[in-house]
């Protein structure tokens, strides 16, 4: 008799890597085929489990960067990491990998929520926010979105073409990219850190009671979340996801 999943229980599923492309020189996009994927809320993550020949296994969590109709991860290669270099450089298309999820019910955007949304990403923190942008498009939502995305240089922008395209085509989506080390040629502003002024100008004002989602390295998230609170945002409407 086939084993049936207990409702509410997260069972391990077998996923197959179907496609992988470079996002930047140090990050890759992995597309997985997961039979009977139940869908997810944008912002949720999955756990991956890797097992070596001798049975040694490890687990890691990755945010989903896709809308609920597919399973895509954006993996930043950490050079001395145990898992990310394997996922970026070794795992071949067609290989199977164990996965469970989706997980997490807090750092999620629900398309039924009509409040305007400010998204603030630092580096690879764009992944779960990209899932929100894509879900908004998939659902043909009219909720106004503003993305502020901090990267070191133009070469570090994940989903650069797609974001450029969506900024033009997705009505109600604004995209502001902040370069901290080097700007594109001819940019009007010098490189600089994301500060209160940029959040004030390119995010929604506190009076609109937006929902803010902030994702990136710890120091970045601390700074941005503090700045949003200082700008008058209700701390309960500032949701954060940190790594590193």
């Amino acid at each position: 008799m086939a084993r049936t999943a207990v409702p509410g229980r997260l069972t391990w599923r077998v996923a197959t890597l179907t496609e992988t492309t470079a996002l930047t020189a140090t990050a890759r996009r992995l597309v997985l085929d997961v039979p009977d994927w139940p869908g997810h809320l944008p912002g949720q993550h999955v756990d991956l489990r890797l097992t070596a020949e001798d049975g040694y296994s490890v687990q890691r969590s990755y945010s989903l960067s896709s809308a609920p109709d597919s399973v895509e991860l954006a993996v930043q290669r950490v050079d001395d990491g145990e898992v990310s270099p394997y996922l970026c450089d070794v795992l071949p298309v067609g290989a199977r990998i164990e996965l469970r999820g989706p997980v997490g019910g807090w750092f999620v955007w629900r398309p039924t929520d009509q409040a305007p949304v400010t998204l603030v990403a630092g580096g690879s923190g764009i992944a779960p926010l990209m899932a929100m942008i894509r879900t908004r498009a998939l659902e043909a939502s009219r909720v106004p979105f503003r993305l502020i995305y901090s990267v070191r240089t133009p070469d570090d922008v994940y989903f650069a073409d797609e974001l450029c395209h969506r900024a033009r085509e997705d009505a109600g989506l604004d995209v502001k990219i902040v370069y901290t080390r080097r700007t594109p040629e001819g940019a009007p502003e010098p490189p600089g850190r994301l500060g209160v002024a940029t959040l004030h100008t390119h995010g929604w004002p506190a009076e609109f009671t937006p929902m803010s989602f902030v994702c990136g390295p710890t120091g970045f998230v601390e700074t941005v979340a503090d700045a949003l609170v200082a700008l008058g945002h209700d701390p309960r409407r500032v949701r954060t996801e940190r790594f590193g």
């Binding site: 890797l50 097992t51 290989a95 019910g105 807090w106 710890t218 601390e222 949701r239």
Partner: protein, 199 residues
């Protein structure tokens, strides 16, 4: 049966390092929080333990740090997979704080400045298993890591060790906290890998 990942060798820990299943060793101290970091000045800080009959026991910051404190060296395990070994803390045992609290409660709901909550059985707070910690690694506990004071209950996944602890409500019935209402395990024993509901 496990699926072997082609070409994956991994990085094994030496046999003397014992980690719960699915955990890896972290050298730094990652920060995990669902929202902005609350900043609570110690002159306005207060700890409130309330019972099922509505009795309240409160401590100011000064009263807390005058209580007998312990130094604790312990391993901590985060549900996001990192473990950190031999972390050093200083704090007041919940045995001391609960000594004069009369209760028939079996459960506790811990509340933080900023609105975070987490639940656990009362017995997991007793018998030298839990502390209100206010120093980490020889220094005052920083706001990012839960300062001025956090709950430390290291035998459970670290989300149970509520940062910015403000209150402990003693209850006759279990009431799920913040992550426990969002799909995470009610109890959270890392050695039984109780990460999510149903684990």
């Amino acid at each position: 049966m496990a699926i072997v990942s082609p070409g994956f060798t991994g990085r094994r820990q030496p046999p003397e390092v014992r980690l719960p299943p699915g955990q890896y060793l972290a050298e730094d101290f990652p920060v995990l929080t669902a929202g902005p970091t609350p900043r609570v000045p110690t002159d306005r800080w207060e700890l409130v333990i309330s019972t099922e009959t509505g009795q309240r026991h409160t401590w100011t910051w000064q009263q807390l740090i005058e209580l007998p404190a312990e130094k604790i060296t312990t391993d901590i395990h985060c549900v996001t997979k990192w473990s950190k070994l031999g972390t050093r803390w200083k704090g007041v045992s919940l045995d001391v704080l609960l000594e004069d609290v009369e209760t028939a409660a079996d459960y506790a709901l811990v509340q933080s400045y900023g609105g975070y909550t987490t639940n656990l059985p009362l017995e997991d707070l007793l018998d030298g298993q839990a502390w209100i910690a206010y120093r980490y690694d020889g220094e005052a506990l920083t706001p990012e890591h839960g300062g001025p004071a956090r709950l430390l209950v290291p035998h459970l996944y670290f989300w149970k060790s509520a940062k910015w602890v403000h209150g402990i409500q003693l209850l006759l019935e279990d009431e799920p906290g913040f992550w426990e209402s969002a799909g995470y395990h009610d109890y959270g024993d890392p050695w039984r890998e109780q990460r999510y509901q149903g684990d």
